[in-house]
Structure formats: structure tokens, C-alpha cells
């Protein structure tokens, strides 16, 4: 990088240093200390915060979080792919409208959008009222405050993060390669499996990564739609910092979450690098 570039990067660097690296450092720092009786930090080195994570309650939370994140990723992928495929096949003008529609929810605060789901799902909510009205059910279904509601909320919140990368890679996909596959005797399904999917690997992995890592740390959705029953890693951290006032333990859980995400990102980059050698294809 040249001298001028360095100066241009300076504001961003200082910003990251003060508001990202410094807090991160404190988190790492706190995670090795004890909690005092009144929630203050006692500066005595300990590993107990990490050892505490091995407790079956917390292991279960970790596994639950991983499970719901995997399911969220798979479900968003399954919903987003056909949508992205449909959009990429439209004329340019319509594509822009669709992409705008997908982004519009970002203009409204996420908390408010989550509360909107309560209105839709609660026992006297829109869905239950309609089903009762039509006589399809006798009494309201329990649609809220369970894992299903959490999954729904997560998929809803993270869908755009899957649609956009998929759309980008479908846009780049050369459809003549699909024609070549059909020409060589591939049925549409086989062409999808052997040509489309490998060529879209990047988009799929980008989207999955964004959704998976985001769902690992999600706490608003389980809080609002999951009620008290659903505790994920994100909620655990939030509770430790805000309610339990156990900053050291909250810090250690954060670190564990971060390490998990980090390992995944490294694995992801390895996988991408493995597929890189055909990138610069000549036309």
C-alpha cells in the first residue's frame, strides 16, 4: 500500500481500534477474572468461566444454538434459491423492483418487525382468527413462544442475506453452460446437480455463512418470539451482561461464540480457495 493509501485508511483504522479492538480486548480480559458479590469484577485470574461452559445446561444451549442455526441456514437456502432464481430470470427493471422489495424491511427497526410477528401469531392473532373463522380449527393453535416461532423469526430476519448472494451468483451464471449440459444429455435435474450447483458454490457458501454466523449470535428473535422457554447463546450472553450482571461469564461465552464463528470462517475460506483455480476462465 502506498503512503497516501495509509492516510486514507487512518480514520477507519482509528475507529476500529477504539470501538472494535479495545472492547474486544476488554471482553477477552474480563473472561479470565472472577465476578464479585455485587456484579463487580474481581481481578483475580481464573479459568472457571470457561470451565463453567462445560456444564450440561450450557452445553445444551450451545448445541441448541448450533442446531437452530443449521436449520435456519438450510431453510433460508431452500426458500431463497427459488426466489433468487425467479428474480434473476426477470427483465432488468423488474429485477430492481424485486431487490428493492427484499431490502425494504431493513428500513423498519428489527425489534418492531419482530413484534409484528407476535400480532400475527398470538392466540388472538391474524392467523388463528382466520383459521377459527374458516372453521379449520376448534381452538387457537400455540404458534408463539416455541421453537417453531423462533425458527420462523430467524428465517424471516435472515432471508435477505441469503437471497442477495444467491441472486448475484445466479446473475453471473452463464446459462449457455446449462444448455451445453442439456445438449450432452443431462436432464434438468442432473444439469442442476452437476453444473448449476458447482458454479453457484460461491454464492451458496457466502449466503450460508452470513446466515449461519448471524443466527449463532441472534438474541432478539428468541427473546421476543421464543418467550422464556427458548434460550440460545445470544440470550445467554445478553442475560449475563444485563440481568445476571456476570460480565466475566458473559465474556467467556462471547469468546466461545467468536471462536466458533472464526473456525467456520477459516474452513469456509479454505473451501473457497479449493474451488478458486477455475475462476479466471477466459471467454
Amino acid at each position: 500500500m502506498n503512503q497516501r493509501g495509509k492516510w486514507l485508511a487512518a480514520p477507519a483504522f482509528i475507529w476500529l481500534l477504539c470501538f472494535f479492538l479495545a472492547p474486544l480486548f476488554f471482553i477477552v480480559f474480563y473472561s479470565f477474572f472472577e465476578r464479585g458479590v455485587y456484579g463487580e469484577i474481581v481481578y483475580r485470574f481464573t479459568l472457571s468461566n470457561y470451565i463453567r461452559m462445560a456444564d450440561s445446561i450450557y452445553v445444551k444451549i450451545l448445541l441448541d444454538t448450533l442446531a437452530i442455526s443449521v436449520i435456519t441456514t438450510v431453510v433460508t437456502l431452500l426458500i431463497a434459491y427459488p426466489l433468487a432464481y425467479y428474480i434473476s430470470g426477470l427483465p432488468k427493471r423488474k429485477q430492481r423492483i424485486w431487490l428493492l422489495l427484499i431490502m425494504v424491511p431493513f428500513w423498519i427497526n428489527f425489534l418492531i418487525r419482530s413484534f409484528a410477528w407476535i400480532i400475527i401469531l398470538r392466540s388472538k392473532g391474524i392467523v388463528n382468527s382466520l383459521l377459527l373463522e374458516w372453521g379449520w380449527i376448534e381452538k387457537p393453535l400455540a404458534l408463539l413462544y416455541n421453537d417453531g416461532a423462533v425458527l420462523l423469526g430467524m428465517v424471516y430476519a435472515l432471508l435477505p442475506f441469503m437471497v442477495l448472494p444467491l441472486y448475484v451468483s445466479l446473475e453471473k451464471l452463464d446459462r449457455r453452460k446449462l444448455e451445453a449440459a442439456y445438449d450432452l444429455g443431462a436432464t434438468p435435474w442432473k444439469a442442476f446437480l452437476y453444473v448449476t450447483l458447482p458454479l453457484m458454490k460461491h454464492g451458496i457458501m457466502n449466503g450460508s455463512m452470513l446466515v449461519f454466523v448471524s443466527s449463532l449470535g441472534m438474541f432478539v428473535v428468541p427473546d421476543i418470539l421464543g418467550g422464556a422457554k427458548s434460550v440460545l447463546l445470544g440470550n445467554l450472553i445478553q442475560n449475563q451482561f444485563l440481568s445476571a450482571r456476570d460480565w466475566p461469564f458473559g465474556s467467556s461465552v462471547s469468546i466461545i461464540l467468536m471462536v466458533f464463528s472464526f473456525i467456520l470462517i477459516v474452513l469456509y475460506q479454505k473451501a473457497v480457495a479449493a474451488g478458486q483455480h477455475w475462476e479466471g476462465e477466459r471467454q
Binding site: K177, A180, Y182, D183, L199, G275, Q283
Partner: protein
């Protein structure tokens, strides 16, 4: 000769636009047939209908008597070489070539045998483990051809396969392709806008214009016996004459030029040279006739470009038998 492909009153509309007018065309077994025409004449659409990527709006397509009009591409016993090759970038040369055989469930030993054969044929053996991005344009071209012929299709459809290559490479690949076609005995249907390419390679040429067939014939027939003004003008350079309300063409190389004062026959016409253009093995002379409002193009094969001067008065003559009546 056996009819392999038959188009019966095939037509195609895109929206309101008539891209192909009702058309009858036969492709015979083992021939090298070229669809030649200016861009937008419908030649690629026609090829894509034969391949199954487009459906005719009306009419039927037969392959060996079987109606294949509504068969999807993957059920047609023919293969295509695409304009930009459309190789699979995530597969090696070998994997690209084997793709078709795998899709059709050909057994392993047969796959291997055919792979070796076709690698040999296209001289790709040493590149077999490479990916398309690591190959030159000419090599990619060969992979595209290998990937198609390995399936031993009844027909090979080629959509301007040499269009992306430079002139020298195109020349040598033209001859290679022609030899390959003879060697394999596969029927080729070849689309190009390059008449020189069509002349070099084809057994028969179909001249298309605005979705209609203007003429079908051997390269010689097309060149020396153009049927109408379009073909006469489209293929090579030509002079169009008008006599008694009828049009005739006469090739520039069939016209002789004489210096003023040279003995001439009574049919010769006098004119003035307006332009002299040196073209390597011949000189192009543009001559305005004195008595008629007619400008002639004449090729002169004397090896002295300084022989003719702009503004010079000359006489021109040709045999009436070299005139071609046009419709």
C-alpha cells in the same frame, strides 16, 4: 443419399417478429451443410430449433423419419458446439469430455476407450488434466469439439465455432474440422456468417436472408450460379447488369480490360478507370462505362499494379456465357 434431418414447413416467431418463414430443408447423411447469412438472418435460430433449444412456432422437424419437434435437447441424438464453447469451468478437459457419456450411462471401459480415442483425435492428450481457463482459445475450441463428438452423435451442430479465434488459427482449424468431418463421417450442420469459411468447408451451403432460404447449392453453384440479386451480391464481389428489364451478374474476374488502342471485338465497351486498388494477387479496377450509367468492378491479374492509372480510358469485354441471369 439418405435424408437425416427434415424440416417441414418450420417457422418461428418471437413475439410479432417472424424470424423464420415457413421453411423446407433436408440434411443428408454424412454431408457438411452450412447455414450462411448476414447477422439476424435466422441461421442461429434455425440451428437452435434443430438442437431443441427453441420450439418452432409451426411445422415439424424429423430425425431419420422420427418427429423430434417436441423432444427436449437431452433426448435428441445430436450434439452442439457452442459459439463461446460453453465448457464447464469447474471440470478438467477429461471431465468435460466424459460428461455426455456419464449422462447417458455409458459403461466405464467404453467411456475410457472413447475418451482416449477422442483425445488422440483432437490432440488434447497432454492437456487432459487442465481446466478450460488454463487453455488457449484454440485448445478450448478443440475441447468443445471433443466433448461433442465423443458421444458419436448422428449430427453435429456447430454455431460459429471459430468466430472467437484469430484469422490464422481459424484458417488452420477450418481444414482440421473439414478433415475431422470426413474422418468421422458425422453429418455437420454448421452456422457461420463468414462466406470464405462456408466455401472452404461445405458440401452444400444454404444461403439465408431475413428468415428465408435464398439458395441451396454446392459452393461452386452458389458462386457461379447465384439465383438472385441477394446471393449474387452477398457471395464474393459481383457486377449486376440490367438488360431489357432483367438482371444479370458477371464476376469481376470474368471481365477483361484492354488498353486503349489494343485490338478489341465489337462487343467491347469503353469506360474510364475511377479507382485502382492493389489487392495482393490482383488489382481491382473500378470502371465507369461511357454509354451506360454503369460502374464495373474488374479484377486484373497482371502483376504490375502501376499498369493502370486513375482516369485512364480503357475497353472492357466479357463472354456472354459468363453472365448469370438472376431472378
Amino acid at each position: 443419399m439418405k435424408e437425416l434431418i427434415q424440416l417441414n414447413q418450420v417457422e418461428k416467431q418471437f413475439g410479432r417478429q417472424q424470424v423464420i418463414h415457413p421453411m423446407v430443408l433436408s440434411v443428408f447423411e454424412g454431408e457438411f451443410l452450412t447455414l450462411l447469412g448476414p447477422s439476424g438472418c435466422g441461421k442461429t435460430t434455425l440451428l437452435r430449433m434443430i438442437a431443441g433449444f427453441e420450439q418452432p412456432s409451426k411445422g415439424d422437424i424429423f430425425l431419420l423419419g422420427e418427429n423430434i419437434t417436441h423432444l427436449p435437447p437431452y433426448k435428441r441424438d445430436m450434439n452442439m458446439v457452442f459459439q463461446h464453447y460453453a465448457l464447464f469451468p469447474h471440470m478438467t478437459v477429461e471431465e468435460n469430455i466424459l460428461f455426455g457419456l456419464k449422462m447417458k450411462g455409458v459403461n466405464q471401459s467404453e467411456q475410457k476407450r472413447r475418451l482416449e480415442e477422442v483425445l488422440e483425435l483432437t490432440q488434447l492428450s497432454e492437456w487432459r488434466k487442465r481446466r478450460p481457463a488454463q487453455l488457449s482459445g484454440g485448445q478450448q475450441q478443440r475441447v468443445a469439439i471433443a466433448r461433442a463428438v465423443v458421444n458419436q452423435p448422428k449430427v453435429l451442430l456447430l454455431d460459429e465455432p471459430l468466430g472467437a479465434l484469430d484469422y490464422q488459427l481459424r484458417k488452420s482449424l477450418q481444414i482440421e474440422l473439414k478433415n475431422l468431418q470426413k474422418q468421422l463421417g458425422i453429418t455437420f450442420v454448421y452456422v457461420t456468417h463468414d462466406q470464405e469459411e462456408a466455401m472452404t468447408m461445405s458440401d452444400r451451403i444454404v444461403i439465408l436472408n431475413k428468415g428465408k432460404i435464398e439458395q441451396i447449392g454446392t459452393p461452386q453453384e452458389i458462386y457461379y450460379r447465384p439465383r438472385n440479386i441477394f446471393v449474387a451480391n452477398f457471395i464474393g464481389e459481383n457486377n449486376i447488369l440490367e438488360k431489357n428489364g432483367k438482371h444479370y451478374s458477371i464476376r469481376p474476374e470474368k471481365i477483361k480490360v484492354y488498353k486503349a488502342g489494343e485490338p478489341i471485338n465489337e462487343k467491347a465497351k469503353t469506360g474510364r478507370i475511377t479507382d485502382v486498388i492493389f489487392s495482393g494477387n490482383h488489382v481491382k479496377l473500378y470502371i465507369s462505362l461511357e454509354r451506360e450509367a454503369q460502374r464495373l468492378l474488374v479484377y486484373d491479374y497482371t502483376f504490375d499494379a502501376t499498369l493502370w492509372k486513375q482516369g485512364e480510358i480503357v475497353n472492357v469485354a466479357w463472354n456472354e456465357s459468363d453472365e448469370v441471369e438472376l431472378r
